[in-house]
């Protein structure tokens, strides 16, 4: 008889790489938070963050700036179509998140979640990660002018959505 999901336990292979272990412990919280904001869902964000770390682990060459690499991985993964489909699939996580938030935060968060992915990405990178337009452009692989335009459209849409 199969076990129920609640009882399921999964053996995890140890990673014998102290450098990766240290990077993982240091950067996991921030990467998981950015992925959560990008995905609009904690569960999907966790998945994206895990995949980003997997990508780092699988690289044969060392990465000079692991934080930057992981940020870019999470953002790019969040912007691909397949990942967007995944966001829709993982609707379940919204339950817990919605329940935990004050009304104004919840209203703003729901409006942010309704933004197109690239618009949400620029806002996360600007207002949460506190990156400059040039740095955001580098992460997204676009021109700074595009970042400016995406930001402007995102803010305009939020103003409309939030009745400001």
């Amino acid at each position: 008889m199969s076990r129920s999901r609640d009882e399921a336990v999964t053996p995890v292979r140890a990673i014998a790489d102290p450098d990766f272990d240290r990077t993982y412990r240091e950067l996991w919280p921030q990467v998981a938070r950015v992925a959560h904001l990008m995905a609009g869902s904690h569960a999907v964000g966790e998945e994206l963050a895990q995949e980003a770390f997997l990508g780092l682990l699988r690289r044969s060459e060392p990465v000079d700036n692991p934080a930057g690499y992981l940020r870019r991985s999470v953002v790019n993964a969040a912007l691909t179509k397949r990942r967007r489909d995944l966001f829709e699939r993982r609707y379940v996580a919204t339950l817990r998140e919605q329940a935990a938030m004050p009304p104004e935060v919840d209203e703003t968060w729901q409006a942010l979640r309704r933004l197109p992915p690239r618009q949400r990405a620029v806002l996360v990178l600007r207002f949460y990660e506190d990156l400059s337009e040039a740095a955001i452009a580098e992460v997204l692989g676009c021109r700074p002018g595009t970042v400016k335009s995406l930001t402007s459209r995102a803010l305009s849409r939020l103003r409309q959505d939030l009745g400001e």
Partner: protein, 235 residues
């Protein structure tokens, strides 16, 4: 920074604070609990299980042949997570194959709004098909053709097994090539690659995370010609 920007910053900070970041440091071979997203699915199933007796009896009774486990899994109209509002009356079983330990592995599909579909994958006991052993929650997406070749329908770890369902297009049979190079036949039912394999730890796994394996599905038509191949992760 203006009021709106302050509001955005505050909302992002508050949401980021709710991120569970405590699972990272788990570096050992010892068993770990299933990842959070799966526990969330279990929570959803429990919440929905409570909601049915409280307010969803009408919806449940209208569901026709839909097994009770799939009703609980789908986010139907009135469900606590009803942003997809699956119409239970139109839900149907698209794929059904023998599963592990005498169970059957079933995939159910329900139409959802707006122009979405949701699928529910679960193990059903052969003897009592209306009382499946386990429900794995529903997955919803915006591409209504669930059988489109390569579409991701569901992939889950259930105990020692990876369960999966992917669109097979016009394939009538297929193979699954695992991370270690082994190829095994995979069932095609209702235009869907559906089945289960033992989870392995041949591949790198992030500490504290769930097992994941890069695999390749190859589909063949009735004449034995290759329909196509796609690579994906079982996780």
């Amino acid at each position: 920074m203006n009021d709106l920007e302050h509001r955005i910053t505050a909302a992002m900070a508050a949401v980021a604070e709710t991120t569970n970041t405590t699972r990272a440091p788990a570096l050992s071979d010892s068993p770990v609990r299933p990842p959070g997203r799966r526990r969330i699915r279990i929570l959803l199933a429990c919440l929905a299980g409570i909601a049915i007796p409280l307010g969803g009896l009408a919806a449940a009774s209208e569901a026709g042949l839909l097994p009770s486990a799939a009703q609980r899994a789908f986010p139907w109209e009135g469900h606590p997570a009803d942003n997809f509002g699956v119409d239970l009356k139109t839900a149907y079983k698209i794929a059904d194959v023998p599963g592990p330990d005498g169970h059957r592995l079933e995939l159910w599909v329900g139409k959802a709004k707006p122009q979405h579909v949701c699928t529910a994958l679960f193990l059903a006991k052969t003897a009592t098909p209306d009382h499946p052993e386990g429900s794995f929650g529903a997955a919803c997406y915006g591409h209504p053709d669930v059988t489109a070749f390569g579409s991701v329908l569901d992939t889950n770890v259930n105990g020692p097994l990876h369960l999966f369902a992917f669109g097979a297009g016009r394939s009538v049979r297929g193979t699954l090539t695992r991370a270690d190079g082994r190829s095994v036949p995979v069932a095609v039912s209702g235009g869907v690659f559906i089945g289960w394999v033992a989870a392995t730890d041949l591949h790198p796994v992030v500490p504290g995370g769930f097992p994941t394996e890069r695999v390749t599905f190859t589909g063949y038509d009735a004449a034995g010609h290759e329909v196509g191949a796609f690579s994906t992760h079982l996780q």
